[in-house]
Symmetry: C2
Subunit: 541 residues, 2 copies
């Protein structure tokens, strides 16, 4: 199964150098020292992150916080003397933000619950009190069971579940062994059944919201997917005209389970929900922020680094992704302060709408790089995400050839330990060379693995050489990601300085390389489904 | 240094049997099977724990919740046909409970903070708004720096600190290696300097409350000692006449640190505190709950098991200590259901006031077992705890000789892995024998180590053979202990059934043993300070 890629990798490894060796030039070696000096001794990366998190706070796409961040990041790029600073719009929907909220159990005894309004659900009109009903629903087939039983109720729509037994440390750095495991090629898994299932799940939030409203429920509540009182509050019904009729809250797992148990042993508890949230419909467009360090090459060739600036609302969007945004901005500051005059333009992008469906980076692809056929109907946010790369053929735009490399940062504030070659075997030896100076800083590993779920994904899907760095996980996945503890004090300053330095160096190498990074063919419709698989009889298609 | 105890242990080990070997009697072997049957197939331990936690909820000493628990546990003992069911009072102070609370940052941007009123601080009069000042104070010498600067302010009295990097799993069971490390004798460390320092720290809460009131501050806030949004809300000024003048709240570490950083880079944030708490002064006495299975021996000899029923208010007091209380009650139910007629009476005790200073178990000692000279002044709660065992001579009461053994449970819901011999080398071989049937259930280890901090401590200090079991830690210390996630769903049902079974078996063994458990001499004033130590010049005495 792995013969093809290994052979290909071996072939490519034998053909080095595919590009010039920038680190062999004395100038480039000196440039690494200047980057390290600027990024260490005059670092601004934590000041940038602190402003985005503490001062501006959560940056939900199109919210007042995100608007402030869009303005402030452009100001900083101007202050740092970047060029071509502008924003690029795309259709998104409503702004939404939380002013104040409270969820209490009032009977059988008073408890202040830990809860958060679900994004893009409406406010309560003052405090709303009603008994709960525990009515777990995770697909439309479950509706029938609860029809006629929900009127006047606050509906608890999640299964109560059980407490977790976290057997791994919440905070981790990658061992050499763990890094090694990432260097493993996997053939693509193109499974129409899985896709159909994901698409159905992605539609369910809207279908559930409609069902609850039709049944006359007064509000709904979900259980946090993590315990330990962590909250997230994700919601995806952000488009104008799609706002759910009912207020929704996510309740901490411990509190949710207590409600469910109390409903089993006695009268249904009564909740009081006071959700003072606000919509902002002043501008339905989301905006990406762009800034350049112009290149000398007249061809229009450029390299780019990006991170999404938008966040969820539970925390301050620190690890996800003020960290990446601040490192992108710091790389821009470092290179601008050095006065570099690269061959190719170096572009810095701060994306919006990433959390809902990579809207911002999809918009960039569609505006600058390539198009796919339009979908046959309007897709919900999650449907857009799961299906975007399944429409063929790809039609490249003139700008497609100009983007020589894209580097993404969206894995928290952990230090860079290496880079994912993203199934591009041809870049492995080049990246090894580019990482050479940073081994003593902990970054030395180039692995073949492909990563998804953030803004390089759909650039890659149209054939752009687009990469993500390997970062130490810290406590990102275990407790910080999307939760209310995604705050500045979970960011690691030394790690972020290192990340910005390495990113700046990669960008300069990519911009000045004699030949652009090797890229694969523009993808065509794959045909890798197992032709001998029988349909799963339990699969509801 | 360890010659004496090892020699002593060897000597004692060579003199077995110190008591009869109950497990050698066929009757006793059969009794183990009956205990396991009753405690497994008709277990009520989780129903008991669920009522104490979900239904009754937090049980702060003298709060309405604790009053309900005092009544309900006596009802259950009556239902299970125990004898001599009664409560025993002791002086404690005020009841206090939380109806509703909210802490928000209102400027420079709105955030609903995670916070909890500090126990026994007064309510706000509606919502109180004021700017913060970060004024860390941890000893009276710090007051001078802030004098004249606190009027009209909400004073943040803790150091902001830094985020944690939890490098151990939150949920753990003890390995054989870890169990082995517990079997290590330590000579007592009687250090007057340390004691003086602890006593000063114990007084500081009251001194700080007085200082803040004199300075005209409007409220104060502390930082949670754990991050990850965990809260505790401990406070110790529970006595009538000692209530602080100002409302106090504990703020989640992430939120506290954000406030402190914002105050450094801009105008002091404004907080809005709405603390709807209530005092209950209907009865200043705390109460221990007592229930017996009467023994046939006319001497008045008894064995006892106890756990504290009181809790803090952030969670539902599940692991601390509905778990222990439910296992004590379940052992009573099992033995009563079996209709045992023990030689010595078996007594079950549910203590109150443990969380503030082991008030309930101290009261039991003073009422039934032994007295110490009165302190020379009225002591704060923490001072009482640190100094109680330092007053000599001990005067034993007639009941002292009757209490043949005490077993305590207060380490969460983790299964019993063995027992601490608490520096009583003579019981080691006896406990090994008593644990024999339970090796396959995971409980086999007898370790010499002495433990403190809960209700066996001061019985032990007057010469009673008083013990605690070794339990798997689970996530008790890492995140549950005293926090708002100390709820029912962090309890482990299988573990608690095992614990109740082993406790019941130990109690029956202790009650029926031909001779009582070996006990040491009644302690006299120790003199083990290093006579050659120079005073630490930095120590502020």
């Amino acid at each position: 199964m792995r013969t093809l890629p290994i052979t290909l990798a071996a072939l490519l490894l034998s053909t080095t150098p595919l590009s010039a060796k920038p680190a062999d030039k004395p100038d480039d070696n000196a440039q690494v020292l200047r980057i390290i000096d600027e990024g260490t001794n005059r670092s601004q990366v934590m000041q940038t992150a602190q402003h985005l998190t503490d001062v501006i706070g959560p940056r939900m796409t199109n919210s007042p916080g995100m608007r402030k961040a869009e303005a402030w990041t452009q100001e900083k790029f101007r202050e740092w003397k970047l060029a071509n600073i502008h924003k690029e719009g795309f259709a998104f929907g409503r702004g939404w933000w939380i002013e104040k909220s409270s969820v209490r159990m009032v009977t059988p005894r008073p408890i202040q619950l830990t809860a958060i309004p679900i994004a893009w659900t409406p406010a309560t009109k003052g405090a709303l009190s009603a008994p709960i009903i525990v009515a777990p629903m995770s697909k439309p087939q479950h509706f029938e069971k609860w029809r006629g039983k929900l009127a006047g109720k606050i509906v608890l729509v999640s299964m109560p579940g059980e407490g977790s037994e976290p057997g791994k440390p919440a905070f981790q750095r990658l061992s050499d062994e763990e890094l090694g495991k990432l260097d493993s090629y996997e053939q693509p898994d193109w499974n129409p059944d899985k896709l159909a299932e994901w698409m159905k799940q992605a539609r369910f939030e809207r279908e559930l919201a409609d069902f609850l409203a039709r049944e006359g429920a007064v509000a709904y509540a979900t259980r946090s997917r993590r315990d330990g009182k962590l909250l997230h509050g994700e919601g995806y019904l952000h488009r104008t005209g799609e706002t759910p009729a009912l207020p929704g809250v996510e309740i901490a797992a411990e509190d949710y389970r207590r409600l469910a148990r109390l409903a089993l042993v006695g009268d249904a508890p009564t909740l009081e929900i006071d959700s003072q949230v606000h919509f902002d419909d002043s501008d339905p467009q989301g905006y990406n922020i762009i800034a350049d360090i112009p290149g000398s090459d007249a061809s229009g060739a450029y390299v780019m680094a990006g991170a999404h600036l938008d966040s969820w609302a539970a925390g301050d969007g620190a690890a996800d992704n003020a960290a990446g945004s601040a490192m992108i901005m710091e790389a821009a500051r470092i290179l601008s302060a050095m006065g570099v005059k690269p061959k190719r333009t170096i572009r810095f992008a701060l994306w919006s709408g990433e959390e809902q469906s990579l809207y911002g980076s999809i918009a960039y692809v569609e505006q600058h790089l390539a198009n796919r056929p339009a979908p046959d109907r309007k897709l919900d946010a999650g449907e857009l995400y799961y299906s975007w790369a399944t429409r063929y053929p790809i039609t490249t735009l003139p700008g497609h050839k100009n983007l020589a490399a894209y580097f993404n940062l969206d894995n928290g504030s952990g230090k860079i330990r290496g880079i994912y070659a993203e199934n591009n075997q041809a870049v492995v030896p080049i990246f090894r060379q580019w990482l050479e100076p940073f081994g003593p800083m902990g970054a030395s590993k180039v692995v073949i693995q492909k990563t998804e779920g953030t803004d390089h994904q759909f650039m890659q899907s149209v054939g752009i050489p687009a990469f993500q760095f390997i970062q130490d996980p810290l406590d990102y996945g275990s407790r910080v990601h999307h939760s209310q503890i995604d705050t500045f004090d979970h960011l690691k300053a030394e790690d972020m300085r290192q990340g910005a330095i390495i990113l700046a160096s990669f960008l300069l190498n990519a911009a000045n390389a004699d030949t652009p990074l090797p890229r694969g063919p523009v993808p065509t419709q794959p045909n890798v489904t197992d032709p001998f698989a029988y349909p799963d009889p339990d699969q509801d298609r």
